[in-house]
C-alpha cells in the first residue's frame, strides 16, 4: 500500500508520517506542513499518498460494516414491534387518559350500581326460596356480558385485579431469546410502576417463546399474601386468568424476587390493552 516517494532525511525528520496523517485526517491545520508541501514536490506527493491511504481506510471501514438494506428502518417490520407505541397516531397524554377514564366511570357507575342491586335483590329472593330459575338466568347473562368480572370466584383464586395489586411493576413486554438462565423482555408498555427498556428475568420454570407479547408481574409488594407470595403460589391463580385467554403462568425471578409471565392472546394490541 505504501510506496512513499523518497525524501531527504531532514524532511522526513520534521514532517514524519504521524504529522502527515494528522493533517490528512483533519486533526491539525498544520500551516507549516502545508507551506512546506507547496514548496517541496516530494513532500507534496507524500502528503497526497497519505491522503489516499486515509481514504482507503475509510472505504475499508465502510466495507467492513456496510449500511443495512434500504427497508431496514421500515417501522412495519415486526422487528420494531417494541417501538410501535411511540409511533401511534394517537398518543394520549396521561391527563387526557385520566379524563376519559373519569368520564367513563361517571357513565358506568350508575349501571354497575343497578346490576349490583339486582344481584343482591335476586340473591335475597333465592334465599327466601323463590326465583331460583330467574337467578340462574341472570347470572348467566351477567357472565356473558361482563367478562371483566371473571376470575372473581373461580376455584377460589385471586381475581386479575387482585393479582395485579400484589405487584409494584406490571408491564407488557415481548420475549427475546433466552441465554443461559436468563431471558430478556423488551418492554412495550408500562401498565404500573417504572420499568427499564429491557427486563432481564432469571428463568425458573422455563423460557417462554420468543416474540410473544406477555404480561409481566414483577416486584411483589410486601405483605402480599396471594399470587405474589411465592413462585409456587403463583400457580394457584391459574384458573382466574384463563378466561382472558392468557397463557399459563410461567415463573421467573427478577432481582431475587418471584415474577410471573403470562402470554397474551395473539392479536392483542398493547396500545389498547387495559387492566380490568
Amino acid at each position: 500500500m505504501t510506496d512513499h516517494p523518497r525524501a531527504d532525511d531532514a524532511t522526513l525528520g520534521v514532517f514524519d508520517d504521524d504529522r502527515l496523517l494528522a493533517l490528512a485526517l483533519g486533526l491539525d491545520d498544520d500551516p507549516e506542513l502545508i507551506a512546506a508541501a507547496a514548496a517541496d514536490d516530494m513532500l507534496r506527493r507524500r502528503l497526497e499518498t497519505m491522503r489516499g491511504e486515509v481514504a482507503d481506510v475509510a472505504a475499508q471501514v465502510h466495507a467492513a460494516v456496510p449500511a443495512p438494506h434500504e427497508g431496514y428502518a421500515d417501522l412495519a417490520d415486526p422487528r420494531w414491534a417494541g417501538l410501535r407505541e411511540f409511533f401511534a397516531a394517537e398518543s394520549p397524554r396521561p391527563g387526557r387518559a385520566r379524563g376519559r377514564a373519569s368520564r367513563r366511570l361517571r357513565v358506568l357507575a350508575p349501571v354497575a350500581a343497578v346490576i349490583i342491586a339486582l344481584v343482591v335483590g335476586l340473591t335475597v329472593l333465592e334465599r327466601q326460596g323463590g326465583g331460583t330459575a330467574s337467578l340462574r338466568s341472570h347470572q348467566a347473562a351477567t357472565e356473558a356480558s361482563a367478562p371483566a368480572a371473571l376470575g372473581g370466584g373461580a376455584h377460589g383464586a385471586l381475581s386479575f385485579a387482585d393479582q395485579v395489586d400484589e405487584y409494584a411493576l406490571v408491564v407488557l413486554a415481548r420475549a427475546r431469546a433466552a441465554r443461559g438462565a436468563v431471558q430478556r423482555f423488551t418492554v412495550v408498555r408500562v401498565l404500573k410502576g417504572t420499568a427499564p427498556a429491557v427486563l432481564r428475568l432469571r428463568i425458573a420454570d422455563g423460557a417462554v417463546r420468543v416474540g410473544g407479547l406477555h404480561l409481566l408481574l414483577l416486584r411483589p409488594l410486601a405483605g402480599a399474601t396471594g399470587a405474589a407470595s411465592s413462585v409456587g403460589g403463583l400457580s394457584t391463580t391459574k384458573g382466574s386468568l384463563d378466561a382472558y385467554g392468557v397463557g399459563k403462568p410461567v415463573a421467573y425471578s427478577y432481582h431475587g424476587e418471584p415474577a410471573l409471565a403470562r402470554k397474551l392472546p395473539p392479536g392483542t394490541d398493547p396500545r389498547t390493552f387495559t387492566l380490568p
Partner: protein, 167 residues
Amino acid sequence: MRREQPEARAEFFRRYAPQVRRILFLQGFCEEVDDAVQEVFIKVYRAQVPAEETFLAWFYRVILNTGRDQGRRRKTRQGLMDRLHQIAPAAAADAPSEPADPALREALADLSPELRECVALRYFADLPLEEIAQAQDVPVGTVKSRLHGAVKRLRTSLDQSGFERHD
C-alpha cells in the same frame, strides 16, 4: 422528544436507525444488533434530554452507553472478529464491490473499545471532533489522539497485508 409528535419520532428513527446499527455493530453486536437498536430508541423516546446537553450529543452518548452495557457482558475479541466476518455485503444498501480486507477486519477487532467507538462515530455518523468528544465525554485532544492511533493501525494493517490501492 415530544410524546405528541409520533411522526417526528418515526422520521427520526428512519433517519438514524441505519447508522445506530453500524455503530453498535462495531461495538460488538451482530445477531442481537436490532434488539440493541430498538433499545436505544426506546431509551431516547422515554427519556428527557439533560438540560445542559444538545440533543444529538446526548443521543450518541445513549448509543455508546447501550453498546458499552452490552459489551461488558459478552465482549471478546474473537466474537467481534466472527461478527465482522459474518457480514454479508450483498445485503447492504451501499454494498461495496469487494468485501473489506481481512487484515483490516482483524485490525478493527483488535482496536480498544474506545478507539472503535471513535472510528464508528467518525465514519458512520460523520461527526466532527467536538461532537465525538461530547459523546465520549473526553477532551477533543483525546479524540484526536484516539482517531490518529486507530487510523494509523488500520492503515498499517492494510500496508502489511499487501493491500493495493485503486487510484
